[in-house]
Symmetry: C2
Subunit: 339 residues, 2 copies
């Protein structure tokens, strides 16, 4: 009986020895090729100009590794880029660490690494340093990625909660809930009639355009885990102002809305991976909206609410039916392992 042998990750791939270097030379280096990574030293040396730099890190444990619209590799690069971009930084250098479970197929790893390389290349960022570790079967779930990033904050850019004023507008660059529901559909092998795709995308070009036209952006965040509701609550927590959202203005696709009702989720709490929420001075809101809509990542941008004097520290929703309800932070997530 002949059988095709599937190449998998062995514990020895994490030994630091011959198999480790083989993995790095054959699989990783070609995808991330750049002069700073090539020496494979203990750290990459990068030349940083005199400036403020944003430094971020995230672990990616999403389940499953592949989902409509992306995979853990694309997600890691986009997530890291976006964490830098919302700080007003131009993303430049990434690090990539892999924790692999023994038995992970080489094919899966290769697809993820290709996706990471391609996403980074398209976004104009470089993976300059990395690490690989292997743990035994049952000691991890396939593949975890951790990625850190460095981005330069342009002179004159200064963002922060303390800049927020009553009357400021809240904007978002498109529909909410797509990532979470796409991952859920892949995880539970749900077959929806309509194809729901994760919104995973790098937002640094959209955000750079916005920072170019307005110096009245107060703060930006990417509403990932916990969704828009959690992100907005973080922005008002402990502050002497509140925030009101207009339900009718919230961009949610019909498919997401229907599915959320079906499974009992609130799209306000569902994760996004290609969205930025912006608080900006009222007078610049329309200009920013126009700028955002002219960008491929912002076609469906909307003004969704504003900063209010009260209730301080809370997020209120003006419902479509004319009521008001408090949008609180959830104690637990609706969907674990969403990013």
């Amino acid at each position: 009986m002949s059988e095709q042998k599937t190449e998998t990750i062995l514990l020895a791939h994490g030994s630091g020895g011959r198999l480790t270097s083989g993995l790095i030379d054959r699989l990783l280096l070609p995808r991330f090729n750049n002069p700073r990574l090539a020496p494979l030293a203990d750290a990459a040396v990068v030349d940083l100009k005199e400036a403020s730099w944003a430094f971020t890190t995230d672990a990616y444990v999403i389940k499953p590794l592949f989902f409509p619209g992306g995979d853990i590799g694309k997600l890691a690069v986009c997530g890291t880029i976006n964490d830098l971009a919302v700080m007003g930084a131009a993303p430049m250098y990434l690090s990539c660490g892999l924790i692999m479970e023994e038995g992970l197929t080489m094919d899966t790893l290769e697809r993820v690494v290709c996706s990471m390389g391609q996403t980074a290349r398209l976004a104009g960022v470089e993976v300059v340093t990395g690490d690989t570790k292997v743990v035994g079967r049952g000691e991890a779930d396939g593949l975890f990625i951790h990625m850190s990033g460095l981005g330069m904050v342009k002179e004159g850019i200064s963002l922060g909660q303390e800049k927020i004023r009553v009357g400021d507008k809240v904007l978002i660059n498109g529909t909410i809930g797509d990532h979470g529901i796409a991952v859920l559909s892949a995880r539970e092998k749900l077959h929806f009639e309509t194809a729901i795709q994760s919104d995973a995308a790098p937002l640094h070009s959209l955000i750079a355009g916005m920072l170019e036209v307005s110096d009245q952006i107060k703060i930006m965040r990417d509403p990932t885990r916990g969704g828009l509701a959690t992100t907005l609550n973080e922005l008002v927590r402990g502050m002497n102002f509140g925030l009101t959202l207009e339900e009718e203005a919230l961009p949610v696709s019909k498919e997401i809305l229907t599915l959320c009702r079906l499974i009992g989720f609130d799209p306000l709490y569902v994760a996004n991976e290609g969205k930025v929420v912006v608080i900006a001075a009222r007078e610049d809101a329309d200009l920013l909206l126009k700028t955002m809509r002219s960008h491929p990542q912002g076609r469906e941008s909307r003004i969704i609410g504003e900063v209010t004097s009260g209730p301080a520290g809370r997020v209120l929703l003006h419902t479509a039916t004319g009521g008001k309800r408090l949008v609180d932070t959830l104690a637990a997530d609706q969907l674990p392992r969403i990013c």
Copy 2:
């Protein structure tokens, strides 16, 4: 019946919601407290002077989490610091990401985080950004830490394989094999008569002192996973020179030597976490040795070998009995999950 309830990590601690912020506010912030971390934004903003910066990342998956001489938290901080230090950089900023398995006890997490905070403080580095993720029971093994680091490379410091010349000396700052054997003893619950401790320690102060007295250091590496043999092989691989070690000069404690013989390990392949191997010009070797020995992390420093014209790309050992043997890279590690 009364029962003491042990607080453990729940999936909800990874939700990004209320439990996540509780964990960060109560457990993490107090340990890493500094003005760059405090805003808890998506990235830390750090001011980097015009200079070359070293940027490194590592995943820590060591098993067990606690071992004689350290724990995964201390290991992560020391390992990251050392990866920067061997690049000739002064470590400054760290990021910390945690992947926690549901059910990890809060007490364990707290001990690890305290240890990280203390090691960082003593070493004069700051944890400025971080991330927490939780995966289900059986989807990880207790706790994995990933840490990235940034360190400034002083003007005029230039290290690299291409600077190595035949006749250069190889130095190390003390005994080899301690970390690996200490972890093995904890993992297998071996009870040795003598207390073997991991050598986990930050080496940036030792290395800074060496760089101060000599501009003839060609390259430095920390011989962690795969041990001294693997590190030295990486340094000569593909080069037109070789390297010869003197077995009699190799610092190995009597306890490690005995135990290694007993279990069939070669200390040359056992991981270290507080050692640096240095290649330096012959004329500066004695000065460097003296400088290293005057530092607490270098009391047992030795000159252990030299760079030779051949066999090119290989590491040779002059044995104590007058023979020669090739010190190759192992295909697989003797001890998985050692760091």
